[in-house]
């Protein structure tokens, strides 16, 4: 069995979710190759070559792939699939993978499996449905399997001990696909990345304003934590969209998740309930978040939060 992992990276470094996908790929007990497709992405290929368990690193560097747009990237994967005939193709279920993989599936005439959380056998998979309210098991009868993998459901592969060979392949079809990259507005932060962070402090609508949300930042910085938010807090404009934890935002599973002023709508819980230790701070003792929290503290966040930050 031959397995291809499509790496997520920014042409400089691998995104950590790629390592979780490699662990998922290892469940197929076959040769795992990893594709680094991008522009001037040779450094990423070198980085990937030491990951434990990788057979070959396929490096496809072309100006047409630099912005990692779905249209040329899908063509790149189809070209490689034509040569190598993989049995399984995987990518992280991030916005990168979600944007790209269905395109590849359609071109290969395969019904993709999204957001896989368990690989039971090479053709049998579990995935959450209905916003995490249920877990469905599916058996795929497609000749190839194409799937996105929920990173938090698998451990990270080790970045050491591998000695993969790097194979450079040139991209055959750098034609114009009608899509042009204009820009990426990145929220600059010194804090850990939300999806891979060991600790996350999240704030909800109860913070009341963008200014008050700074209290969350202070606590997060004291803990060395990433910052998250409920959909309500993002909709209210307290923080940018990429802070959103939940069904349609990011799925996180840190060692410690502190939810402050978040009531715990199903959609939010779907994005954080696999965290190891959950702390909830809320003034409403009936808030659903307390039903899943390991430690709950009922009270006024405007009193508790400064005290907590101070005493840490």
């Amino acid at each position: 069995m031959n397995v291809l992992v499509i790496a997520e990276h920014d042409n400089k470094a691998l995104k950590p979710a790629t390592l979780n996908v490699i662990t998922a790929a290892s469940r197929f007990s076959g040769n795992i190759d990893i594709l680094i497709a991008g522009g001037n992405c040779q450094d990423v290929a070198k980085e990937a070559s030491t990951i434990k368990g990788i057979n070959d690193v396929i490096c496809m560097s072309d100006a047409a792939l630099e912005a990692q747009l779905a249209e040329p990237l899908a063509e790149a994967v189809i070209q490689i699939q034509g040569d190598k005939n993989y049995n399984v193709i995987l990518a992280p279920a991030s916005t990168f993978g979600k944007n790209l993989l269905p395109r590849i599936s359609a071109l290969l005439d395969v019904q993709q499996i999204s957001d896989v959380i368990e690989i039971i056998s090479p053709s049998s998979f579990k995935r959450p449905v209905y916003g995490g309210q249920a877990i469905a098991t599916f058996e795929s009868n497609d000749e190839f399997k194409v799937m996105t993998v929920r990173a938090t459901a698998f451990d990270k592969a080790s970045t050491e001990g591998g000695q993969a060979t790097i194979e450079e392949i040139s991209f055959n079809s750098p034609k114009n696909f009608g899509t042009a990259f204009v820009g990426l507005e990145v929220a600059k932060t010194e804090r850990p990345e939300l999806t891979g962070a060991e600790k996350v402090v999240s704030g909800g609508r109860a913070l009341g304003s963008k200014e008050n949300f700074k209290m969350i930042e202070e606590l997060a910085d004291k803990l060395g934590a990433a910052i998250g938010a409920s959909r309500a807090a993002v909709d209210a404009g307290y923080v940018p969209n990429d802070y959103q934890v939940g069904q349609t935002g990011k799925v996180v599973a840190p060692e410690l998740y502190i939810a402050i002023g978040i009531s715990g709508a199903i959609q939010h819980l779907a994005g954080m309930k696999d965290s190891k230790t959950i702390v909830a701070i809320n003034k409403d003792e009936e808030a659903p978040i307390f039903k899943i929290a390991d430690y709950g503290l009922v009270g006024d966040l405007f009193e508790i939060l400064p005290e907590l930050t101070k005493k840490l």
């Binding site: 599916f138 009868n141 899943i292």
Partner: protein
């Protein structure tokens, strides 16, 4: 400019679903069904483009049972001009019609209708696949712009801002293109009573899914549907000191 908006009838956003006792699926009798929320956003965006003079006609399409007419009427009450129901008796949530089949059916409709743009929800809140828009775009060979939080149409092109993990990405796509909507693109309107009445008179075309030349055998066999593992609630602590003590000495996370 003609806009086609594919929509899906799903269990209402506010309903807590019930899993059938034999684990064969999700209970759908006596459950409130609605227009998929992301599709509502897609309709709203199309209607706003029409109100701004950028679009001339909005066609709304769904695949599903006869009853799915109700969501087409809702879409028409919001401002879509006409509807197409592609009827099928097959299930449309888990273990039935799959995203790839939907994309193939939409492709056939689009080759006939020739819209300049497809705007659709990024995912349906039942199976949460998040695939159909991207698949459709690939099958048509059109550009795609997924997870849109802003759309501007200018000179046969769309400038689309996308919500991605790293922030906000902006793409320029040549039309025709497929755009999928994210939550913050707009806030959908409620249909007014006069518009609901008017929508009843708008044209609704009925087609049969079996008339399309598409294999309707699922590639993914649904084996079972289960409750997710339950997480037990813990304890309520009385103050910050107790909380810190527990986090240090019991959970050992700080």
């Amino acid at each position: 400019m003609k806009i086609l908006v594919p929509v899906k009838r799903v269990v209402d956003y506010n309903v807590k679903i019930r899993i059938k006792s034999d684990q064969s699926g999700v209970e759908d009798s006596n459950v409130k069904m609605s227009l998929n929320p992301f599709d509502e956003i897609a309709i709203e965006e199309a209607v706003r483009l029409k109100e701004a003079g950028k679009a001339s006609e909005i066609i709304v399409v769904t695949i599903g049972p006869e009853k799915a007419q109700d969501i087409l009427r809702t879409a028409m009450a919001m401002g879509a001009d006409r509807g197409v129901l592609v009827s099928t008796d097959l299930k449309i949530d888990l273990g039935g019609i799959e995203p790839l089949m939907v994309a193939k059916c939409l492709k056939a409709l689009i080759e006939n209708e020739k819209p300049d743009m497809v705007i659709m929800g990024k995912q349906a809140i039942d199976d949460d696949s998040n695939q159909t828009g991207q698949m459709l775009s690939a099958l048509l060979g059109w550009p795609q712009a997924t997870f849109a939080s802003n759309i501007e149409i200018d000179n046969g092109q769309a400038n689309v801002t996308r919500e991605v993990d790293g922030g906000l990405e902006t793409l320029k796509v040549a039309l025709p293109a497929v755009v999928t909507t994210d939550l913050r693109l707009n806030e959908p309107r409620y249909a007014s009573l006069p518009n609901i009445m008017k929508a009843k008179k708008k044209p609704l075309d009925n087609k049969q899914l079996s008339d399309f030349n598409i294999k309707l055998t699922p590639r993914l066999k649904l084996v079972s549907v289960e409750e997710p593992p339950k997480r037990e609630g813990g304890e309520i602590v009385s103050n910050v000191d107790e909380l810190l003590d527990k986090l240090k000495n019991e959970a050992k996370v700080i």
